[in-house]
């Protein structure tokens, strides 16, 4: 295996763990944790491809990862604010119980 492939395997496994978490956990915060893990895996992919890719002189991989980190921060902030808002309203963070469209 080339080094690139090794890093890709790591990031794939990380993505898989995040996906499993997002799909199986019922606590909204843990679903968000799973999503964060998937984003991190994607970032690892970007960096690995930048490092071992055909176009190493361009900083695109690094810049893309920086933007992804910023977007992840924004996403988490709004996501957690939504979860807290829903919790105040419904007294639950269990996703199975957030099934009513009517407030």
């Amino acid at each position: 295996m080339t080094p690139l492939q090794r890093y890709l395997v790591v990031s794939t496994l990380l993505f898989g763990v995040g996906l499993a978490g997002a799909l199986t956990r019922r606590n909204a915060i843990l679903v968000l944790v799973g999503i964060e893990l998937m984003l991190t895996a994607a970032n690892l992919n970007f960096i690995a491809f930048w490092r071992y890719g055909p176009n190493p002189e361009s900083a695109a991989g690094i810049v893309f990862t920086l933007f992804a980190i910023a977007v992840a921060a924004a996403e988490t902030a709004v996501g957690l604010a939504l979860i807290i808002k829903i919790y105040r309203h419904r007294r639950t963070t269990n996703l199975d119980q957030m099934d009513a469209l009517k407030g």
Binding site: T2, P3, Q5, R6, Y7, L8, V9, V10, T12, L14, F15, G16, V17, G18, L19, A20, G21, L23, R25, R26, I29, L30, L32, V33, E36, L37, T40, L44, I47, A48, W50, R51, Y52, G53, P56, E57, A59, G61, I62, T65, L66, F67, I69, A70, V71, A72, A73, T76, A77, V78, L80, A81, I83, I84, K85, Y87, R91, T92, N94, Q97
Partner: protein
């Protein structure tokens, strides 16, 4: 991958598994911190210094703390006893694991079988911080501005969502 990178990768995966499988939310958040640190170490090993530090600063310093705060401010009382008897349409555990496993398997097969580029002789050297700044302010300046706008909007949105409206005195009197 040198031994340090392998250790970091194992720590990242172990932390990730713990973060999505432990019962205690706080433990999950702390394991997530471990994962973020290890991924930052992987970035460092790949020569992306700047991204690694930014990762620690944003993920550990901000996102993990946010998750911890949110877990402290919400308490999951478990399944509501009044709704416990309701049959659930699907059993989430096996299905979710199956889907995740299938996706991971397909991805792994792709990584293993695709004809990736041969190992490059000289891996990329990281651009200096100055070059990175130049790139951000010239080629990616629109994206940078949009991200700034997004972060501002997200901050205001989060505050508006999470703020508890103070009870006004006139309402107090009426009650």
């Amino acid at each position: 991958m040198d031994p340090a990178a392998i250790i970091a990768a194992l720590l990242a995966l172990g932390g990730a598994v713990a973060a999505v499988s432990l019962r205690n939310l706080i433990h999950c958040a702390l394991c997530l911190v471990l994962t973020f640190f290890s991924v930052a170490a992987l970035f460092l090993g790949l020569g992306a210094e700047f991204v690694s530090f930014a990762q620690v600063m944003v993920y550990v310093g901000a996102i993990a703390i946010l998750i911890v705060f949110a877990s402290l401010m919400t308490r999951d009382p478990g399944t509501d006893p009044a709704r416990a008897h309701e049959p659930r349409a699907i059993r989430p555990w096996p299905l979710g694991l199956g889907i995740a496993g299938a996706v991971t398997g397909v991805l792994l097969a792709c990584v293993g079988s695709s004809r990736l580029l041969p190992d490059v002789a000289t891996p990329a050297t990281a651009p200096s911080v100055r070059e990175l700044g130049q790139e951000l302010m010239t080629r990616y300046v629109v994206a940078l501005e949009v991200v700034g706008l997004l972060l501002t909007a997200a901050m205001i949105g989060a505050v508006v969502l999470a703020v508890r409206e103070p009870r006004r005195p006139d309402q107090e009197v009426g009650r």
